[in-house]
Amino acid sequence: MQTIIDQITAILRTAAERGQALHIQGGGSKAFYGHPRAEAAELLDITPYQGIVNYEPTELVITARAGTRLSEIESILREQGQMLAFEPPHFASTATLGGCVAAGLSGPRRASAGAVRDFVLGVRMLDGTGRDLHFGGQVMKNVAGYDVSRLMAGSMGTLGVLLEVSLKVLPLPAAENTISLEMNAAQAIKQMNQWAGKPLPITATCHVDGQLYIRLSGAETAIRAAQVQLGGESRADDDTFWHALREQTHPFFQPAAPLWRLSVKSTAPEYHLPGKQLMEWNGALRWLACQNDANNEDSDSAAHIIREAAKAAGGHATLFRGHRHATPVFHPLTPGLLSLHRRLKQQFDPAGILNPGRLYPEF
């Protein structure tokens, strides 16, 4: 495995000397996400660097190489009754751990369990000059040095090439059950937030097509008690439903583009924007599936309206799928934050060769 690291290091050093942009890729399952690969960028394939480095269920930590498939990690965890509690979307069977952390996306359990970044305990990475670096570690609590490992989550490969990641894992719940209740979006927003403030075993919420879906997890007795309290109908197909939501195979996501992801304050009122909407995370995540017939100018002005709406609710909007034209994928940064991003990029990747433009066109 060191041979592979040596090869990647050599590629990085040469690229840095020549100013040759690189496109870091695992399974390519999230190639659609973010700004597209720069035209001149050469592919840096991480999949050969794969395998579990260390997994000790009773320490609640797994360490694996970046090219390891997420499906392999999740199946090994399941054998021991454990899981990645942030329920990362795969989007394809080829999805890798490195891509999961670099994209920083989390699934239905995020509002109750936390996001990818909350479970990252440590990383081994190569920076843009090929230096082999370790940050964080394999323990739950570690405040030595700046938290560079969490900074890598969602950085879209712009700061370094992830080699290994240590993640905190959690036990699978003893039981799970999903209920559904009929209500409109405004009622659902209120209801989800009220219930989130009560000691109930709710681990996922979704509102779509006039139905609110609630997943309960824990001891059977606790789920039954909660169900009595919440009412609604128990559903038999719960695993399928949440899986379809996580992987965006649910019919809502089918007219694929453009798909907006609005991450907002959970109590933000219902949006009256053109297109269909689906809510998750107690209302903190709103998906907006737009019509695909807008011309360039219309889509730019629609983007502006959507972004203003998300900003007004204390959040931000991402053009999740269907990027085209001049609309930036990620919510534009304030000048102060953009300049800070560029200075950080300069420290990790002075030659600017790692996934340039993938996060923001400016770096």
Partner: protein, 503 residues
């Protein structure tokens, strides 16, 4: 902490007042701050010369107590213009010297920014100023059935701004997370006085995760002026199992068995024999004096969930070889079981004139070996050591007992402590789980990180504060310092303790 009679590292910047930039700075500070918010007389500066780690003392040149964000901006602009170092301070309860003043710098106390600005019970958030006490947040939102989860042992006194600077934990963090998992947004001022909004009111934000980077950055990157914290529902019920063991290893195995059974306890604490005896003499909590280790394992949540977990925890303790098990029957009993653990520090103060608290984290499976290592060091140095352990997350707090009035004993204690941290690194752990590096563990940073990694840390610092004015000299050692420490540390290439277990 008791350090009443300890080595005083104070230097007298005041002697050089004639040559110092102080008078000019004082004049300019007083132009926008009330006169009682600018302190410079030696006696006024005295209370600020150390934080919770009082072995390290330094009189600051000037102390300022701003009351508004605008005043902080002006202080920072002045510091930036005049290249004056500035150290932020909250309640001063930190245990690593992170708020130790700079001798030619301004110490900025944020204690006056102590207002809870907004509580949003439906969204389960509170917007607070940095000087608000940790526990004051939970007190203020209690009527909504909510609380702020991280509960460092100093929570009565410590400020939320300091918690952000240190990424503080507490006894419940295995289940509920550290500060970084429980905050949403920060207002941050750069050294230039520019305002940055980091994080958002949503569950994530655009761009790099600067919220994670800021949390635990020990006042090196910016000054936090406002924090939006997450609130969570107060559990319906909490119950505690107290189990006694006749050896440490069985207690360690019991912890692993609980986790292996798929239980994440709300709290899981371990105490060793010397600690049990010290707290029992102090508090009479009913601890088993014959035990080599006591485990406290708490379950919280919905009543049915707790009943289920408590039954399983009891069974696991029994099958793991516990010699005695008690389950709290009511809230009063639960609190009395906890009282002993919470009194471990004051109890140390009763059995010894002074004590020194360490803060390493290790993978739990190495607990037995690390504790034997500590015991060997304890014999070598002739100093007793109490061990309290956040067993669920591997965070170990050895308390080295010593007497500062005995010449040389503090130096021996510091060396002993340094060796414990090195053992934690060798066990695959870290030199600090929750107290921060500050000034105290700066040398051990040289052992935990390689030159390239330290350079990245300096790079991060430079991206925020290129002139190195914010809390300079803390948290990340210079490469020069590491070179000197390395030369001192390795004696002719041989280890000082060849007999100690290494992993």
């Amino acid at each position: 902490m008791k350090y009443a009679s300890m080595r005083n590292k104070t230097r007298r910047a005041i002697d050089n007042l004639a040559m110092s930039p102080a008078p000019e700075l004082i004049r300019r500070l007083r132009a926008f701050l009330p006169s009682d918010a600018v302190l410079y007389d030696t006696e006024d500066l005295k209370p600020y010369e150390c934080d919770g780690l009082s072995a390290y003392r330094q009189t600051p040149m000037i102390v300022v107590l701003p009351q508004t964000e605008q005043q902080i901006i002006q202080v920072l602009q002045l510091c930036h213009e005049t290249h004056t170092p500035v150290v932020a301070r909250g309640a001063g309860t930190g245990l690593s010297g992170g708020a130790l003043p700079h001798e030619t710098g301004i110490l900025m106390s944020l204690a006056k920014l102590n207002r809870i600005l907004e509580i949003d019970p439906l969204a389960r958030t509170a917007r607070v100023q940095p000087g608000v006490r940790n526990l004051a947040i939970s007190d203020a939102v209690k009527s909504y059935g909510l609380y702020y989860a991280p509960d460092p042992s100093s929570q009565i006194a410590c400020s939320i701004g300091g918690n952000v600077a240190e990424n503080s934990g507490g006894v419940h963090c295995l289940k509920y997370g550290l500060t970084v998992q429980n905050i949403l947004k920060l207002r941050v001022l750069t050294i230039e006085g520019e305002l940055l909004e980091i994080g958002s009111e949503a569950l994530d934000s655009a761009g790099l995760d600067l919220l994670a980077l800021m949390t635990g950055s020990e006042g090196m990157l910016g000054i936090v002026t406002e924090i939006i914290v997450k609130l969570i529902p107060v559990p319906e019920k909490a119950q505690l199992v107290m189990a006694a063991f006749d050896n440490i290893q069985s207690a360690g195995n019991a912890v692993a068995n609980v986790i292996a059974a798929g239980i994440i306890p709300a709290g899981m604490e371990m105490m060793d024999k010397i600690t049990i005896h010290a707290v029992e003499a102090f508090l009479h909590a009913g601890y088993d004096l014959n035990a080599e280790a006591i485990l406290l394992c708490e379950s919280d949540g919905a009543a049915e969930e707790v009943a289920d977990e408590i039954a399983r925890i009891n069974a696991i303790m029994k099958s793991s070889g516990a010699t005695g098990i008690r389950t709290s029957r009511n809230e009063a009993e639960r609190l009395s079981f906890w009282a002993g653990r919470k009194a471990a520090f004051p109890a140390a103060g009763r059995v010894s004139p002074d004590y020194y608290c360490m803060d390493g984290t290790i993978p739990r499976k190495h607990l037995g070996q690390v504790l034997s290592g500590i015991e060997a060091l304890s014999k070598h140095y002739g100093l007793r050591c109490m061990n309290v352990f956040h067993a669920g997350d591997g965070n170990l707090h050895p308390l080295i007992l010593y007497d500062a009035n005995t010449p040389g004993e503090l130096e021996k204690t510091e060396e002993f402590g340094g060796k414990i941290l090195e053992m934690c690194i060798q066990a695959g752990g870290t030199i600090t789980g929750e107290h921060g590096v500050g000034m105290e563990k700066i040398n051990q940073m040289c052992l935990q990180f390689k030159t390239d990694e330290l350079e990245i840390f300096h790079g991060v610092k430079a991206a925020f504060d290129p002139q190195n004015l914010l809390n300079p000299g803390k948290a990340v050692p210079t490469l020069h310092r590491c070179a000197e420490f390395g030369a001192m540390h390795v004696h002719g290439g041989s280890e000082k303790f060849p007999d100690l277990p290494r992993f």
